[in-house]
């Protein structure tokens, strides 16, 4: 189980504030928010590229706040797959295992297994530069899966793909998630993606989580007008956060609500 408790992290004028999230084993969480809400930064903080000023990142009750990224065992997939261009598809997938000094035979076996699981047989011998966006993203996912991560972090993995490829990859991701029982945290700004993949949703705005919970609950009962609008639901003007001044209606990305849990 992964638990974020009251994370604060400052980046110049922007800050992640009071982020708390409890991700059960095998759950698929989608963090949903407009661009600039801090969702990618949150992901990179969890991955270990930024150190939060306050709060804890607990994985199996161990605080990882000051653990370097290479020791966190989290698989990270970027929007632009970030495959190593000087390595083959095989070299990319096996990279994490080689870095861990896993014996060569085991690396080969693990890579073969992932190639089969993600249907990459056709591209495994091609140079990375020739892969299409969807293929590259699959390789990136395979690369992140190879290290058997405690937590799979997906940073807008489908934003740069065309519509059809995105749908295919969604199906694929859902299947792999189910097969491997992976705990996943997926960041996106697309509510379709969130609805299709996530069993849980957290909606972010202005560096804080505005609402979180099982997908059906959030969709059924948006807590404030912003969440409703962002999920494409009819505006429920009755509900709003405590002390909400509806700042988000005037200034995109702003939320002045005093409490966020």
């Amino acid at each position: 189980m992964i638990e974020l408790s009251r994370l604060h992290c400052r980046f110049g004028s922007f800050a992640l504030r009071d982020i708390s999230l409890r991700i059960g084993k095998g759950e698929y969480w989608v963090i949903l928010g407009p661009s600039g809400c801090g969702k990618s930064v949150l992901l990179q903080t969890i991955a270990g590229f930024f150190t939060p000023e306050q709060g804890q990142i607990l994985v199996a009750n161990r605080d990882l706040r000051s653990t370097p990224p290479e020791c966190r065992n989290m698989g990270l997939v970027f929007q632009q797959s970030a495959l190593f261009p000087h390595k083959s598809v095989r070299g990319n997938i096996g990279y994490g295992l080689v870095a861990r000094k896993v014996p060569r035979d085991n690396v080969k076996r693990a890579v073969d297994d992932l190639v089969e699981r993600l249907g990459l047989q056709a591209v495994v011998d091609r140079p990375v530069a020739t892969l299409s966006g969807g293929e590259a993203q699959r390789v990136a996912i395979a690369r992140a899966l190879a290290i058997r991560p405690d937590l799979l972090l997906l940073d807008e993995p489908m934003s740069s793909l065309d519509h059809n490829t995105r749908l295919e990859l969604q199906v694929e991701l859902a299947r792999v998630h189910k097969e491997l029982g992976l705990t996943t945290l997926h960041v996106t700004h697309s509510r379709e993606e969130a609805a299709a993949l996530g069993d849980h949703i957290a909606v972010m705005l202005g560096g804080r989580i505005v609402q979180r919970g099982p997908t059906a609950d959030v969709q059924g009962k948006p807590r404030c007008p912003f969440v409703a609008r962002f999920l494409g639901l009819p505006l429920d003007t009755g509900a709003s956060l405590p002390a909400c001044a509806h700042a988000c209606a005037e200034k995109p990305g702003e939320c002045t609500s005093s409490e966020s849990s």
Partner: protein
């Protein structure tokens, strides 16, 4: 049809009248035979022009006449070489239909008639530049092509002393010079010390460049400017500075000498001077190379379990390797070419640039010229090999290609 016949006849009559007139004036400019030859040449030119220029705009016809006039003024009036004029004008009329050939022809005329003493040295670069101009047609705007070729011509002018120097001595003289003991050893010494200097430099410059590319710290801009100081400082100043610090009589120099490591006037001294002058080239180029490696690759590598050092060795360094090699090549070239600093600080053993200088002082330009040419050829060869060698490296980041535009 009849019309053209009549026109041709009229032109023939006018031409004939012109040439007869030229023959009849007192003190005629040509002998009768030459006059006759010119007359027939003109008939040929006219008939060729009539074929090429049929149904062409007045501008094209004007161009043809302008070209003819230019040849006429240049070769016949200015140089007074009638046979050459006949030859060129016949070729001109033939080439006019093919603009590519016409351009080469114009360059040929300019180089071999006007720039006669440097015919080969000018014709080769100019025709290469012209073919670049021609082959970029349709791939870039005329303005961009003119910028390119104008710049290339200026570059050729700047490099011209070297090009013409390379043509000065025969291979025999060069070989004879090369087999002279002092020349060979000086050249070897130059190549050896600059290679050692580049390696020594790379050992600390590459990590420094990586750090400068990745870390932001207060005063970083100052550090970056400090890196460039050796470019700014005159070589003689650098030489004096090194003598004062490490030369004979200085504190550090005498300490090192007592340890059996004389700096000034030893191989060691040459390498120190070369590292000093070459450093900015490698540091700056390697820094740019590391900056061009997207940070995401490193983040991905770290999250996959590679330590920062392993990430550097497996990801950043290979991806920046081409840029680093370019920087190392520049640094090596700078080290080989260093003269001012070495001649003051470590003038013996003698490196090749110093030898060129001392030979010049001893026996003049003609004696030092073959050595200079040898040094030029060897350095250029190594430089070219290294420049092409980088394409053998596993990888270079894809650069955004300029969009094709008509």
């Amino acid at each position: 049809m009849k019309q053209t016949w009549k026109q041709s006849l009229a032109v023939l009559v006018v031409l004939a009248a012109l040439h007869v007139g030229m023959g009849l004036v007192p003190d005629p400019p040509f002998s009768v035979g030459m006059n006759l030859a010119l007359f027939f040449t003109n008939i040929f030119v006219f008939s060729a022009a009539a074929t090429v220029l049929r149904r062409r705009s007045a501008r094209t016809v004007g161009l043809f006449v302008a070209g003819y006039t230019a040849l006429f003024l240049l070769v016949l009036v200015l140089l007074g070489k009638a046979p050459l004029f006949i030859l060129l004008v016949v070729a001109y009329a033939g080439f006019f239909g093919a603009p590519v050939l016409l351009g080469f022809f114009a360059i040929f005329v300019v180089c071999f008639v006007v720039l006669q003493p440097f015919a080969f040295e000018t014709f080769i670069p100019l025709s290469l530049i012209y073919s670049v101009f021609w082959r970029t047609r349709g791939r870039a705007s005329l303005f961009a092509r003119l910028c390119l070729c104008g710049g290339l011509v200026a570059l050729a002018v700047v490099l011209f002393p070297l090009i013409s120097l390379g043509m000065q001595d025969s291979l025999q003289t060069l070989w004879h010079t090369f087999t002279r003991g002092d020349v060979a050893s000086a050249i070897w010494l130059s190549l050896l010390t600059s290679t050692v200097a580049t390696v020594v430099l790379a050992l600390w410059a590459v990590p420094l460049a990586y750090a400068l590319a990745r870390i932001d710290f207060p005063g970083k801009r100052w550090v970056e400017s400090m890196v460039d100081v050796p470019i700014l400082v005159p070589q003689s100043v650098a030489g004096i500075a090194l003598i004062v610090l490490l030369g004979p009589g200085s504190v550090l120099g005498s300490v090192l000498e007592s340890l059996g490591l004389p700096i000034s006037g030893s191989l060691f001294g040459i390498v120190i001077a070369q590292v000093f002058v070459a450093a900015p080239f490698l540091i700056k180029t390697a820094m740019t190379a590391f900056e061009s490696v997207p940070l995401q690759y490193e983040l991905a590598s770290r999250s996959l379990g590679a330590s920062p050092a392993a990430t550097f060795a497996r990801i950043s360094l290979p991806l920046a390797s081409r840029g680093i090699l370019v920087g190392a090549t520049l640094a090596w070239a700078r080290a080989v070419s260093e003269f001012g600093c070495i001649v003051l600080f470590a003038s013996s053993p003698v490196t090749a640039p110093v030898l060129v200088h001392t030979e010049f002082l001893r026996a003049g330009a003609s004696e030092s010229r073959p050595i200079a040419i040898l040094l030029l050829i060897i350095c250029l060869w190594v430089f070219v090999m290294l420049q092409f060698g980088q394409t053998l490296l596993p990888f270079a980041l894809r650069r955004p290609r300029p969009e094709r535009r008509a």
